[in-house]
Amino acid sequence: MWLCELITGNRKTYGMNLIGGVRRDITSEQKPKILEVVGKIESQLKEIIDAILGDTTLHLRLKDVGVLTKDAARQFCPVGPTVRGSGIAIDSRVNHPYAAYSEIAPQVITQSDGDIWARTIVRLLETLESINMVRRAMREMPGGGIMADVQEIPPGQEGISYIEAPRGECMHYVITGPDNRPYRWRVRAPSYMNLQSVPAMLMGYSIADAPIIIGSIDPCFSCTERLEVVDTRTNKARIYTQKELLALSKR
């Protein structure tokens, strides 16, 4: 997060992407710092992988628990490490290369067992692969402009994009509105797809297995928690209750 703060100016809300490019370039002073931090993460990660792989307690707890078979994975269409742990090599960066991923394509990591252990291994090895990609990007990234000259964005246009997030394929859909602002914007985060496969994973296991099975898809519930609505005419803000949200969603 300190590295993100250094590169973008904030730890979480990076605010880097604009239509047409990015707002900040990586400076020559930042490059060695990035490589240093990445190197440290790599050495620590290797120690952790080494320790985890030989930990038989984890083997006993995670192997053959929460199995999502290849066929079930095809039926429920989960994404990211959840589907790759079931032996299906799907990765938006390879299947539909966007940005510069055609030049630094990742090696798609899969495990065939479909249990929690397989998903854990996929995540661990993917972190190593990501570190390799950061190194390649730092080495091969050309200099030059970071922003295209975009003036007016016509209203009423539609855009849809799929990108590979750490949890899997993430979809954004937008309808442009007047004044260079979006009219509608819809995000389908990877957890939405992954959660569909959880019932199949839970089937036949004990209640004590449920927390680690749900945890193994690394779900993100925070987006659904609450919503603040601001009335721009009166400048009054209020929070919808669960009841109201349910009523709205059923309308």
């Binding site: 703060e5 904030n10 605010g15 620590q44 307690t57 004044d179 602002r181």
Partner: protein, 173 residues
Amino acid sequence: MLLSKLKEALICFKNLRVTLPYPFQPAPPPPGFRGRVEVDINKCIGCGACAVACPPKLIDIKDLDSKRILEFQLGRCTYCARCAEVCPTVAIAMTPDFELATDNKADLNISVELTMVKCEHCGEAFTTQRIMNKLATEVSKELGMEPADMKWLHLCPECRTASEVEKMMEAES
């Protein structure tokens, strides 16, 4: 198995505590950090470019008879710094300040009050005194005109159009 446990213990012991002793010790953010928005009320000309650029639309511009009031409701700020990027007079800056917790959102609000100038023809307030000054000095230089010759500057857009049309009609007849 024991070997793995020892390895895991070693990893933990090697790094000991990685968290900072904040807040007992300050933790300054790196340069380029986008923290609390600061508005230099002496530089702001009230053009409203920030209000157009602001994604959460937290900058409200109200034109009262002789005053233009810009209200920044910073409780809704996302710290994207688009306002600072588009400000023509660099009146908006992002400070390294991030300790903004408050029990009253209004504590974060900023209000800028600017004097408006009235149209010499119809008497309607149409722009701020500072925009007028900027136009008179900088634009006149660019156009190569004397501010004294730029009579149209003191007319509101409607009266300006009307006077131009009048001139054209006169020239035609």
